[in-house]
């Protein structure tokens, strides 16, 4: 019997070779993240700006980045595209920084953009919460298809202690079974030899040219620089956009916002307590609406009463937990005018600077 086992061990190099190839090539991104995002993350970790933003899965990129960044970003930002322009220039420069905001960031992203770092043992010291009003709207249209619901359930269940019957914890060892799967090995070999010349890959953008680009640029700190045309568009266009936003059937993701979700309120407060227990400093950032849009919000109280109510709730909560609040959904409250906006919902970078304190 031992002789047989000894002979069978002679096949071990094949098994080890298979595991090595599958792990290194990793065509599905189980261990190193998806190809495009993996490459984007590699550039960002080298301090390089990249293009190809439209093709980038921001959520996947954040996960890969969280895995591979050697140290925790000391300042972490979350939120939606409305918070994405917050970059390292908002800090004192003494602390490391990462902007993990996602396009269309919803309540799931709100929690998971923190959790992906926390899971890797990379806790921030300061957490800037980009609090879009729709986060507390539990109407189905307020969610983004791209957000990671499973990860959200994992976080609120395992970390915040909320019971959820639909969540089944993943076996952390599951992905390692792929290393013993010959199909995964075959996929790795195919992928390795595949002609990748036609594949779209993120391209580095020279630092001196980042403000001259005709497409959106992803910065190494996770923030984005919108394309030149958008940033330099005439004010009339920005106001026109705001008018369109205000006159749509429902302002961005606020449809059906009849009540501030009690469920999300409870989770939100539990999250605050959870972060404070870890000595993480929290800052609430409330991105303002364009004055035209906000006027509509106040005019149509029947549709949008939850927006001012939410701001009141957030301010009360901030007071209760000793949290600093930056900005307001109401632009007038922060002294913002039409000129501070790129469209109906996005502030200019310098206008964000008017409301957000220096971080760090």
């Amino acid at each position: 019997m031992f002789k047989l086992i000894k002979k069978l061990l002679l096949f071990a190099p094949i098994l080890l070779g298979m595991i090595f190839v599958s792990y290194r090539v990793d065509p599905s991104g189980l261990f190193w993240g998806a190809g495009f995002e993996r490459m984007a993350s590699e550039y960002m970790l080298q301090g390089i700006y990249i293009d190809g933003y439209e093709r980038l899965d921001g959520r996947a990129l954040n996960e890969v980045y969280a895995k591979n960044v050697p140290q925790a970003p000391q300042i972490l930002v979350n939120g939606s595209s409305r918070s994405m322009m917050i970059d390292t220039s908002f800090t004192t420069g003494e602390k490391t920084f990462y902007n993990a905001a996602n396009i269309g960031g919803d309540i799931y992203d709100f929690f998971t953009s923190y959790y992906i770092f926390s899971k890797e043992g990379k806790e921030p010291e300061i957490f800037v919460m980009g609090l879009d009003a729709w986060l507390f709207n539990d109407y189905e249209e307020s969610y983004d298809k791209r957000s990671n619901k499973e990860l959200y359930y994992e976080f609120i269940g395992e970390e915040l202690g909320f019971e959820n019957t639909s969540y089944v914890a993943d076996n952390p060892l599951d992905k390692y079974t792929a290393l013993l799967d010959p199909s995964y090995f075959q996929g790795s070999v195919k992928y390795y030899f595949k002609d990748k010349s036609t594949e779209v890959q993120p391209e580095p953008v020279p630092r001196e040219a980042i403000y001259e680009q005709t497409e959106v640029i992803k910065a190494p700190d996770g923030s984005v620089i919108y394309d030149k045309d958008f940033r330099t568009r005439p004010q009339e266009l920005a106001d026109h956009d705001a008018l369109l936003t205000a006159n749509t059937e429902s302002i961005l993701r606020l449809y059906g916002f009849e009540e501030i979700s009690p469920e999300y309120k409870a989770q939100f407060e539990a999250f605050i307590q959870y972060l404070q227990a870890k000595d993480i400093q929290i800052i609430f950032f409330l991105p303002a609406y364009h004055p035209i849009v906000y006027n509509k919000i106040t005019e149509r109280n029947d549709l949008y009463h939850c927006v001012p109510e939410l701001e009141a709730y957030l301010r009360q909560t901030a007071e209760k937990y000793g949290i600093q609040v930056a900005g307001s959904y109401d632009p007038a409250r922060s002294g913002l005018t039409n000129e501070d906006f790129l469209d109906g919902v996005h502030l200019r970078q310098d206008s964000i600077r008017k409301v957000l304190p220096v971080l760090g």
Binding site: M1, L4, L10, F11, I14, D181, P182, F185, Q186
Partner: protein, 490 residues
């Protein structure tokens, strides 16, 4: 539980280790439990059917053995045959018979039973049981006295669901012997299993991806695409079934059991008759012994011989599946055999006489032998169209359109596009072709001995080169989607 499943990878080593560890008197009990577990992993209810067939056959054999006269013996044999055929007939042929009757007499007032279980391996164990009872009746084998041993004979897991259909005279005595761990025998078994996995996972399952693309929607394809699918099906079915047989024989060998050889390089056969001597040997032999010879074989004149051949092949066709396609497939093969007898009968009889008299037989020119093998392959592959096509209409479509694009074949890019459309390149078609050539090379190298004997005669580095090559080919080109073995449905 499929041989090509993770479950079997866990199940088999546990069964083998348990078999060699437990006391001698419990070994058969252990194998019986393992075999029933193996079978019940498809559908637990299957166990009831096989148990019923086992109990019936066992006690009918007891009654045959104890019968006072020939008449009683015949009666008990008939009871056993009727019961077993009735079970097989009901589960396998009921709907086919109903459909066929309704096609002719639509107002007959009968209905098919759509809830009928498709019982895996029922044709195999039913034939094995029938063979046993007939052998007891003929006095060729002593009836088994121990019920559990007999139950193991019927359900022995390596060959339970797709053969080889073992003869009681071969397997039953082995179930009474002591089997200890023997390094050489275990490695021989493992090598044969690896070779079976290579045939199944690399060639058969690889070819199946292309074959199924075409045959599951034949009217979308034409000309060379139909030819390629038909050509590849010949290897799909051969490697599927002979691969299963190799795994079964190898698995039994690991535990010390020697099962009969089921394939002997059938595609090297120089005539259709020779092909049937080398293809699914255990079934062909079963039909010869229990159908063809009892019908009179070739002893009752030419016409009766031809009729007996046709009947045997038609029944064989029906055994393969409850569909007219299989009946036609059997019929064409029967016709081939009859024509062969008509054309070459005298010459072959003369060669047999020479052989009997110890005279040297004239050597066949290798080129002529190759041409004969190629012609035989084409004839057999023609019949596979009926075997594989989903319906008779599909088979006719394939035959009508196989050569419709001959004039286009040499048009630039036509062939490549035609092959691309059937997934030839996406599914490693060229690698499959190379592996088919490799398999043939190994079969040529084997010659008249068995694969493991041939390998064992080689120097150590050559042996290990072979082992590594087989494992690496499986790893690189094997299909791991756990496809069923084709013969399970029979």
């Amino acid at each position: 539980m499929l041989f090509n499943s993770v479950s079997f990878l866990i199940f088999f080593p546990i069964v083998v280790m348990g078999y060699f560890i437990i006391p001698e008197k419990l070994k058969n009990h252990w194998l019986l439990i393992a075999s029933y577990y193996f079978y019940m992993s498809w559908q637990p209810v299957y166990a009831l059917l096989i148990l019923f067939s086992t109990v019936t056959t066992f006690y009918c054999a007891v009654l045959i053995d104890k019968a006072k006269n020939e008449k009683q013996k015949k009666l008990f044999l008939a009871v056993n045959i009727i019961v077993n055929i009735a079970i097989l007939g009901y589960f396998k042929y009921f709907n086919f018979i109903v459909d066929s009757l309704l096609a002719v007499f639509p107002s007959l007032g009968i209905a098919r039973n759509n809830n009928l279980l498709a019982v895996v391996g029922i044709s195999f164990y039913t034939f094995q049981s029938l063979g046993y009872s007939i052998d007891v009746y003929r006095g060729k084998v002593e009836r088994e006295k121990d019920f559990l041993t007999y139950a193991l004979f019927v359900s022995f897991f390596p060959q339970l669901v797709a053969g080889p259909i073992e003869r009681s005279v071969n397997l039953l005595p082995q179930l009474h012997k002591t089997h200890k761990f023997e390094y050489d025998r275990v490695t021989d078994g493992l090598v044969l299993m690896a070779w079976g996995f290579f045939k199944k996972l690399v060639i058969s399952d690889g070819a199946a991806l292309i074959v199924n693309t075409v045959f599951n929607d034949v009217t979308k394809y034409t000309g060379i695409q139909l030819v390629m699918a038909t050509f590849l099906f010949a290897f799909q079915i051969y490697c599927d079934f002979s691969g299963y047989s190799d795994i079964a024989i190898g698995a039994a060998n690991v535990m010390g059991f020697k099962l009969m050889r089921n394939f002997r390089h059938p595609y090297f056969s120089q005539s259709v008759v020779e092909f049937w001597r080398n293809w699914h040997i255990s079934l062909s032999g079963w039909f010869m012994d229990y159908v063809y010879f009892p019908l009179g074989g070739s002893r009752k004149g030419k016409i009766r011989t031809y009729i007996n051949l046709m009947v045997t092949f038609l029944v064989s066709g029906l055994w393969h599946g409850a569909s007219w396609n299989f009946v036609i497939w059997g019929g064409i093969n029967g016709l081939y055999n009859v024509l062969h007898r008509v054309i070459f009968g005298k010459k072959e009889a003369q060669l047999r006489r020479m052989k009997k008299a110890g005279q040297t037989l004239p050597k066949t020119n290798p080129v002529i032998a190759a041409v004969k093998a190629a012609v035989t392959f084409v004839l057999i592959d023609f019949t596979w169209i009926f075997f594989r096509a989903n319906t008779l209409t599909d088979a006719v479509y394939v035959l009508q359109n196989m050569f419709s694009d001959v004039s286009l074949l040499f048009t630039s890019g036509y062939l490549a596009t035609a092959l691309e459309t059937i997934g030839y390149y996406a599914n490693n078609g060229t690698a499959i072709m190379v592996c088919i050539v490799l398999m043939f090379a190994v079969e040529l190298w084997e010659g008249k001995c068995e694969l493991v004997d041939r390998i064992n005669r080689c120097a150590k580095p050559v042996r290990w080169l072979f082992y590594y090559a087989v494992v690496l080919l499986i790893l690189f080109f094997g299909y791991f989607g756990q496809s069923q073995f084709i013969y399970f449905q029979f």
